[in-house]
């Protein structure tokens, strides 16, 4: 009986095309939401990987270096480096600042010791060799040699990094430690954290040692409400898609009441009618999902946020879309099953 369903799709192709377009837009939004959510989850991992530390030494009681305003003496790094199990230890300053030139924009600032841990990966240029030099994320749209003013300091862009963001896609700049201390601590020899390669068996007195996982968890905490909101919107979008598909299938069932009555009167079992309608819903959903993937690719670059759609989201999209289609078609299925075959005997 699939023939009837396919022919009906062709017969009402305009209506189904509109439904596919609308549903695809909704599915594309869910993909973009999934991409934003994934991006928010990826940022903490990416920034901790960039720093590459095995442990992050912070003032005792501090939740994490990215969220707390506590400091440690920068010269504590020497003592920490001397501890058994520690290969190297370097002070790191982590700030949030405003870039004033060439445009006003919030930036994350990471100050690291030249040649030490925390050096940024590059897509162009080189790393800073002296104060006043900066590596900027490509998101800022700067070129090598451009000037940059932030936190009262003037910098020259000598390197470009890519995808180094955190705190909802805020771009990061990497500056020499001294410049960061000047920006955040009036030049005092302080650091937000001491990062180490290798781990000491116990942290120095008055300090805590955090692992990369704890740092990531600390960084994700402020994002929790944001990601929950996105997940909630995604659920609403699934319901919206289900509503569109459900209403189209229900309308189709309404339009075909007489057809169903005739089919029943000529001996078609209910099961055949249900399979036919369910097939329509699945075709509609899967076609929408396929179009949604294209739409998401087109829309993602225009989205004002980092969108990283995971591969599994595409797979899930098809599975969930088919499920949504089936669930959404229940009202239509119920309608088809409930049709009285005696209706076939009615006049025109």
């Amino acid at each position: 009986m699939w023939l009837i369903s396919i022919r009906d799709l062709q017969f009402r192709r305009r209506r189904f095309s509109i439904a596919v377009a609308a549903t695809a837009l909704v599915f594309a939004m869910t993909l973009l939401m999934a991409g934003v959510s994934a991006s928010l989850h990826n940022e903490p991992r990416r920034i901790t990987d960039v720093i590459g530390a095995d442990s992050w030494i912070v003032a005792k009681g501090t939740a994490g270096p990215f969220t707390a305003a506590t400091v440690v003496p920068a010269d504590a790094a020497a003592a920490i480096a001397a501890a058994p199990g520690v290969e190297t230890a370097d002070p790191l300053v982590i700030l949030h600042s405003a870039m004033r030139e060439p445009v006003d924009r919030d930036v994350n600032v990471i100050g690291y010791r030249i040649g030490g841990l925390g050096a940024p990966p590059l897509t162009a240029g080189r790393r800073p060799r002296a104060p006043g030099e900066v590596v900027a994320d490509s998101l800022l749209g700067l070129e090598l040699g451009d000037g940059l003013a932030a936190g009262g300091q003037q910098f020259e862009v000598v390197g470009i990094g890519d995808g180094i963001t955190y705190y909802f896609g805020t771009a990061t700049i990497f500056v020499p430690l001294e410049d960061a201390q000047a920006m955040g601590f009036s030049g005092k020899p302080l650091a937000t954290t001491i990062v180490t390669a290798g781990r000491a068996s116990s942290p120095p007195q008055g300090l805590d040692a955090l692992g990369p996982a704890e740092v990531r968890a600390d960084l994700e905490r402020p994002l929790a409400s944001g990601t929950q909101s996105i997940d909630f919107i995604s659920v609403l979008l699934w319901f919206t898609a289900a509503g569109i598909i459900g209403s189209i299938i229900y309308l189709s069932a309404l339009d075909r009441t007489r057809d169903f009555a005739v089919l029943k009167a000529t001996g078609a079992p209910n099961r055949s009618l249900m399979i036919g309608l369910a097939l329509q819903a699945i075709v509609l959903s899967v076609a929408s999902a396929a179009l949604a993937i294209v739409l998401a690719q087109v829309l993602a670059p225009a989205f004002p946020f980092s969108v990283e759609i995971p591969l599994r989201s595409y797979v899930y999209l098809f599975l969930i879309a088919a499920s949504v289609g089936l669930v959404a078609s229940l009202a239509g299925l119920r309608r088809a099953v409930g049709v009285d075959p005696a209706l076939a005997f009615g006049g025109a």
Binding site: I4, A261, A265, G267, A268, A344, F345, A348
Partner: protein, 345 residues
């Protein structure tokens, strides 16, 4: 005992808040190869009877047997099989599926029975050739004339080569040229050994039939003397659903008109006292009685044919009679002492 055998069939259903019994105690036997015409006006139960024969509606009582199959005793799955394999239905409005081509429409019952697509298509094409539509196989219903659509509907009804074919008003939407072809086709169906039941209100189809069954109860239109009745309390003058050919004037006592409701209760339609009349619409329009009339007191009534009634009431217009205008009889109560069922002396 091949063929169709209907015994004591009564079909009853609720329509709104009252009960309709379009078929009441029907007996009919139709052997294979015979074409029977169910004749009657709209609402007389033709389509309802076809629905019961097709296994779509359940009868209130009585039995329908076809080739030893007791249709009323079939359960859901067996009914589906019966509809598919035993009965072919030609619907009044063709009821073709608009998204399918002619050949696909004919193939649908076969596909529903899980016949392989290639076989179903070959059978559908052969049937369409038989009904003269070899050049319209890939046309959709919108591209076919009424007669061609009806031919497709007939071909569809024959998809499983059913021994019983039911046709509901098969000429209702056709012009006279298209009607000719369809009549010939229906006749050929019976000639092939099938039992064919055709429901129609079109009396032009009468020569088509081996037998005619008139479903509407008909009163006599012959002249007859007035029927003078002396009735006791509770006596019934006529019953709902009966044919009616007399209009009654009440001379003494009171008569109540009650209509059976769907919940087995009764709705009092009217109470008629001396000088008033009742039961006028059934004889005027040839309809069954729509209510039961019984005396609520000892009463005297006289039944007149519509013609005599008009004379008795001073020749009012038909419109006044139909709307129940306040008419008074010219004459006084006839003399006589008959009990119910007895004519006046």
């Amino acid at each position: 005992m091949n063929g169709l055998h209907i015994a004591g069939l009564t079909i009853e259903y609720s329509s709104g808040d009252y009960v309709v019994r379009p078929i009441d105690g029907l007996n009919l036997s139709v052997p294979p190869g015979e074409l029977v015409l169910l004749l009657g006006p709209s609402g007389c139960g033709k389509t309802t009877l076809l629905s019961v024969l097709a296994g779509i509606l359940k009868a209130h009582s009585g039995s329908v047997r076809f080739n030893e199959i007791n249709v009323g005793a079939l359960k859901e799955r067996a009914l589906t099989d019966y509809r598919r394999a035993t009965v072919g239905v030609v619907f009044q409005a063709f009821n073709l599926i608009p998204s399918l081509t002619a050949v696909e429409n004919v193939a649908v019952p076969l596909l529903a029975a899980k016949v392989p697509t290639s076989k179903a298509r070959a059978r559908a094409e052969a049937l369409l050739r038989e009904v003269g539509l070899a050049d319209r196989l890939t046309h959709k219903p919108a591209g076919l004339s009424g007669g061609q659509q009806q031919r497709v509907a007939i071909a569809r009804a024959l998809a499983h080569d059913p021994p019983l074919v039911l046709a509901d008003e098969p000429t209702a939407h056709l012009d006279y040229i298209q009607v000719e072809g369809i009549l010939r086709l229906l006749r050929e169906l019976a000639a092939a050994g099938r039992t064919v039941i055709v429901a129609t209100h079109d009396e032009r189809l009468l020569p088509l039939a081996d037998r005619i069954v008139e479903l509407a109860p008909k009163g006599t239109s012959k002249p007859r003397p007035p029927e003078h009745l002396v009735v006791g309390r509770g006596d019934i003058i006529f019953r709902q659903g009966e044919a009616g050919d007399l209009i009654f004037i009440v001379w003494r006592g009171e008569v109540e008109l009650v209509r059976a409701r769907g919940d087995n209760s009764e709705l009092v339609v009217d109470r008629v006292g001396p000088g008033r009349y009742f039961g006028e619409l059934a004889p005027i329009f040839g309809l069954p009685r729509s209510a039961t009339a019984h005396a609520t007191t000892d009463a005297v009534v006289t039944g007149y044919t519509p013609k005599d009634f008009r004379r008795q009431m001073g020749s009012p217009s038909m419109a006044d009679m139909i709307i129940g205008a306040d008419l008074q009889p010219l004459d006084h109560e006839p003399t006589g002492t008959g009990r119910i069922g007895q004519e006046s002396s």
